[in-house]
C-alpha cells in the first residue's frame, strides 16, 4: 500500500506538470485542444492526491508500522478517532494535507467559476498547478509520507500528547487550509489582469474566496487560542509565538483586502492596491509555511519542523519575484481610472486608512518576528522578541482600527459633511460618555484599558443605532419589530453581515482587554480538604484521583468552588495532569469555571504527594467574550456569503 501511494504521487506530479505547461501554452498559442487536455489532467491530479491521502489513512488504520510516518505518529493503543489528527501531525503528512486542501479548493474554484471568467483562468490554473507540482515534488524527493523502513517496530511511537484535544480536529486543519486557500484569491487576481472588461463578476468571485480564506483562517486562529487556553495550562490564549504571528499576519492583510475590494466594486478605484494586498497576503502565507517548516526563528509549534526550510524559502522568493513582475507589467492597466477620492470624510478614505493601519500592524508583527535574526546578523547579539514587544507596538494600532471600525461605516461614499457625521454620532457620543463616567467611577482609571473599553462601547452603540434606525424605517408595514429587524438584516446582507463580524471583533477586543489588564494570579500550596479564599471565591480541594491509560498516567485534582457571597451555589471543577512516558512529556489541563464576568482558572503546577499540591489560581476577567466572538464571526461571514437569490434572478 505504501509503494502504491508513492507511485500515485509520482503520477500526480507528472499530470500536474502537464496541466501547468499546457494551460500556459494554451493561453499563449490560443489552442483549445491544449486547454482541454490541461483541464483533464487538472481534475485528475485531484483524484491522485485524494487516492494517496486515503492510502496513508489506510496505513494508519491497519497499523502498518513498516511506514515510518505511521510508526512515528500513531500506536496500537491510539484512539482510532485520532487517525485524522495523526494524519497531519508531522511534517510529511501535513504537507500531504495542505496539498489535498489546495487541489480540492482549486478544483471547486475552477468548476464553479462563471463561464466568461473561466475562459480567462488558464493562466491562473497554470499557477495553481505549479503550486501543486511544488508540493508533490517536495514530498516525492524530500519528505515522503510513504517512506518504508527495513526494521518494522511492534508498536508505534504514538501521537504527540499535546494534540489529543478536540480542538486539534479543527485548529491545525483550519489554519493550514486557511493558509493554503489564499492561493485561490491570488490566482483569481492574476487572472483578472488578463481581462480588461473589468466585469463585476471578478469582484464577486474574488470577494467570496477572500471571505472564505479569511473566515477559515480567523476561525483557525481563534480555535488555536481556545486550545491554548484550555490545554496548555498557562492561563493565556495568545503567546505571540512566531507561528501564531505568521498565521495572524496574512489574516490582517486579508482583512484589509476584503474591505478594499468593496471600494473597487463600488467606485472602480484601488485596483492596483488590491493586487498589491493579495500578493502580500500570498507571500506572507508562504512565509508562514517557510517558518513553520524549519525557518530561522524558534517557536513552540515545532511539530512540523524539518530541514526543508530552504525549499520553501526558494519557492517564496520565486513567487514574490513573480508577483512584483506581474504588478509592474500591468501597472498601466491598473491605474487608469477616472474616479477619485473626493474627501477625507468619505467611506473610501476611511477604508484606505483602515487598510493602511492593518497592513502596517501586520508588517510591524513581521518586523518583530524577524528582528531576532536581524539582531544576530547585524549586531551579533541574541535577543528575544515576545509578548511585551508586540503588546506595545501592535496593540495601540489595533485600538485605532477599532475606533475607525465605528466611524468608517457611517460615512457615505464620495463625501460626507461634518454636520451629518456629528448628527449620526451624537447619540453614541452621549451614551459612551455616560458609560465612560460609570467606568471611571467604578475604578477603571488606567489610560489604555479605559480608552479601549470606551472605544468598544462607542462602536457598539453606533452599530445598534444603525440597526434601530433601519428597523424603525421598516416598522411602517408591520408592528412587530422582530420581522422588521430580520427584514432589515436580509435587505443588505453584505453590510449587516459586516456589522455582525464587527460585533465579533468587539467581543474579542473586550475579552482581550479584560484579560490583559485585569488578570489576577496566586500561587499556593494546598492540601486535601483545605479551603482557600481568593478574590471573592472560596476554593476547596477535595481529593486527587489517578488513572492509567496504557502507559500514560493521568492525575486529576477535584475542587469545589463557590462565591464567598453565595456559598450555597457550588461548582465542581477538575484539573488534570498527564504524563506520557513515550514522549517524556507532560500535558496539563486546567480546571475552568467560566462566566461572562470572569473565569476562575486552576492550573495544577505540582503534585507533591497524594494530599498536597501546588496550584496557580488565576482570575481571567471577560475571557468568556473571546470565545463568544468565534460563533458570531462565523454567523456574520455566513450572512455575508449567503447567496442572494433575488440578484441572480
Amino acid at each position: 500500500m505504501n509503494n502504491f501511494g508513492f507511485y500515485i504521487m509520482i503520477l500526480g506530479l507528472i499530470l500536474s506538470l502537464h496541466s501547468s505547461l499546457f494551460f500556459f501554452l494554451g493561453q499563449i498559442k490560443n489552442k483549445k485542444v491544449f486547454i482541454i487536455s490541461a483541464q483533464k489532467s487538472f481534475y485528475l491530479v485531484i483524484l491522485m492526491v485524494i487516492i494517496s491521502s486515503f492510502s496513508l489513512i489506510y496505513s494508519f488504520l491497519t497499523n502498518d508500522f513498516a511506514n515510518v510516518y505511521v510508526a512515528n505518529h500513531s500506536s496500537l493503543d491510539m484512539n482510532r478517532a485520532l487517525t485524522l489528527v495523526a494524519f497531519y501531525s508531522g511534517n510529511e503528512g501535513s504537507l500531504l494535507y495542505i496539498l489535498l486542501v489546495h487541489v480540492i479548493l482549486s478544483g471547486i474554484m475552477y468548476k464553479f467559476a462563471p463561464n466568461n471568467i473561466k475562459n480567462k483562468l488558464n493562466f491562473s490554473c497554470s499557477i495553481l498547478a505549479v503550486i501543486t507540482s511544488f508540493y508533490l515534488f517536495v514530498m516525492i524527493f524530500f519528505a515522503n509520507p510513504f517512506q518504508i523502513s527495513e526494521f518494522i517496530p511492534n508498536d508505534g511511537k504514538g501521537i504527540n500528547p499535546l494534540l489529543r484535544h478536540p480542538g486539534m480536529y479543527i485548529h491545525p486543519p483550519l489554519l493550514m487550509s486557511g493558509l493554503a486557500s489564499i492561493s485561490i484569491p491570488f490566482v483569481l487576481c492574476q487572472g483578472s489582469l488578463f481581462d480588461n472588461s473589468n466585469s463585476n463578476q471578478w469582484h464577486t468571485i474574488l470577494r467570496v474566496w477572500c471571505l472564505f480564506s479569511w473566515a477559515v483562517l480567523g476561525t483557525g486562529l481563534l480555535i488555536g487560542a481556545w486550545w491554548a487556553y484550555t490545554i496548555l495550562g498557562w492561563g493565556g490564549y495568545w503567546g505571540w509565538d512566531p507561528i501564531e504571528n505568521v498565521g495572524l499576519m496574512p489574516w490582517l492583510v486579508l482583512t484589509a483586502l476584503i474591505h478594499s475590494i468593496m471600494v473597487e466594486e463600488r467606485r472602480g478605484i484601488f485596483r492596483l492596491w488590491n493586487i498589491i494586498l493579495i500578493s502580500l497576503t500570498f507571500v506572507l502565507a508562504l512565509l508562514g509555511t517557510f517558518i513553520n517548516r524549519g525557518g530561522p526563528v524558534v517557536s513552540v509549534h515545532s511539530f512540523a519542523a524539518s530541514t526543508l526550510g530552504f525549499l520553501f524559502l526558494i519557492f517564496m522568493i520565486v513567487m514574490t519575484f513573480y508577483s512584483v513582475i506581474s504588478i509592474i507589467y500591468n501597472y498601466k492597466n491598473l491605474t487608469n481610472n477616472e474616479n477619485k477620492i473626493e474627501s477625507y470624510l468619505s467611506r473610501e478614505a476611511s477604508l484606505l486608512l483602515n487598510n493602511i493601519l492593518l497592513v502596517v500592524s501586520s508588517l510591524i508583527i513581521l518586523w518583530g518576528v524577524i528582528f531576532p535574526v536581524v539582531s544576530i546578523l547585524f549586531n551579533d547579539t541574541e535577543i528575544s522578541v515576545s509578548a511585551p514587544y508586540f503588546d506595545k507596538t501592535a496593540g495601540p494600532i489595533f485600538l485605532f482600527i477599532i475606533i475607525l471600525m465605528g466611524i468608517g461605516p457611517i460615512l457615505s461614499w464620495r463625501k460626507t459633511t461634518k454636520k451629518a457625521v456629528i448628527i449620526r454620532l451624537l447619540p453614541s457620543i452621549i451614551i459612551t460618555t455616560l458609560i465612560g463616567l460609570y467606568l471611571y467611577i467604578s475604578g477603571i482609571k488606567e489610560f489604555f484599558p479605559f480608552v479601549s473599553f470606551i472605544s468598544i462601547f462607542f462602536v457598539m452603540t453606533i452599530i445598534i443605532r444603525e440597526w434601530i434606525g433601519g428597523t424603525k424605517s421598516r416598522m411602517s408595514n408591520s408592528y412587530n419589530p422582530i420581522p422588521s429587524f430580520i427584514n432589515m438584516i436580509v435587505s443588505n446582507r453584505g453590510r449587516n453581515g459586516g456589522y455582525v463580524v464587527h460585533i465579533a471583533i468587539l467581543a474579542l477586543a473586550f475579552g482581550v482587554v479584560g484579560t490583559k489588564f485585569y488578570d489576577e494570579r496566586l500561587d499556593v500550596n494546598i492540601s486535601v480538604s483545605e479551603e482557600i479564599e481568593f478574590k471573592g471565591y472560596s476554593i476547596l480541594f477535595k481529593e486527587t484521583t489517578q488513572e492509567f491509560i496504557g502507559e500514560n498516567s493521568i492525575t486529576k485534582a477535584h475542587f469545589e468552588i463557590s462565591k464567598v457571597s453565595n456559598p450555597n451555589k457550588i461548582n465542581n471543577i477538575t484539573a488534570m495532569h498527564s504524563y506520557y512516558p513515550n514522549y517524556n512529556q507532560i500535558s496539563v489541563r486546567s480546571g475552568i469555571s467560566s462566566t461572562p464576568v470572569e473565569d476562575l482558572y486552576i492550573i495544577p503546577k505540582d503534585f507533591i504527594d497524594e494530599n498536597n499540591m501546588t496550584i496557580r489560581v488565576a482570575i481571567n476577567p471577560l475571557a468568556w467574550w473571546i470565545w463568544l466572538s468565534g460563533p458570531i464571526l462565523i454567523l456574520g461571514t455566513l450572512i455575508t456569503l449567503w447567496p442572494n437569490k433575488m440578484k441572480r434572478n
Partner: protein, 142 residues
C-alpha cells in the same frame, strides 16, 4: 524613547503645516501617547509582571508564565526569592541577564542597536500615514 518622541513631534508639526483634518492629528497624538505610556500594569504584582517579561531559556520562544518546564518553575521561584530579598524590577532582570544573556528578556531593550526594533514600526506608521494624507490631498486636487 526620547528619539521616538522627537520624531513623532516632528511628524506632528509637519502634518499641521499641511492643514490636514484634526482627526489625523489625533491619530498622531495617540501614537505619541502609546510610545510614552507603558502598556504594562504598574499596580500588578511585581512577580506576575516579571514572569511575563522573562523568557524560559529552554522552551523555544515561551515566556516563564507560559512554560511549565522544570527550569521555568525554578526560575519563577528564584524571582520570588529575589523579590523577598528586596530586589526591584530592574535588579531582578539584571540578575537573569548576567546569567543567561540578553535574550532572557522577552523584548528588545530600548538601547543601542535594538532601538531599531521600535524605531522602524513608529517611522513606518508615521510614513504610511503621511503617504495617506498626501495621496488623498492629491486626489482631491486632481
Amino acid at each position: 524613547m526620547k528619539l521616538d518622541l522627537l520624531l513623532t513631534m516632528y511628524g506632528m508639526i509637519y502634518v499641521k503645516k499641511l492643514k490636514f483634518i484634526s482627526l489625523f492629528n489625533i491619530f498622531i497624538l495617540a501614537i505619541l501617547c502609546s510610545c510614552i505610556l507603558p502598556v504594562e500594569n504598574s499596580e500588578k504584582d511585581l512577580y506576575i509582571q516579571l514572569e511575563k517579561e522573562i523568557m524560559c531559556p529552554v522552551c523555544d520562544g515561551q515566556t516563564l508564565d507560559q512554560s511549565q518546564s522544570l527550569i521555568a518553575e525554578d526560575m519563577k521561584n528564584t524571582i520570588k526569592e529575589k523579590i523577598l530579598q528586596g530586589y526591584n524590577k530592574e535588579e531582578v532582570k539584571n540578575y537573569f541577564i548576567a546569567r543567561y544573556g540578553e535574550s532572557i528578556i522577552a523584548y528588545p531593550k530600548v538601547e543601542g542597536f535594538n532601538i531599531f526594533a521600535y524605531l522602524i514600526p513608529i517611522l513606518g506608521l508615521i510614513f504610511s500615514l503621511l503617504i495617506f494624507g498626501f495621496y488623498i490631498r492629491k486626489q482631491k486636487l486632481g
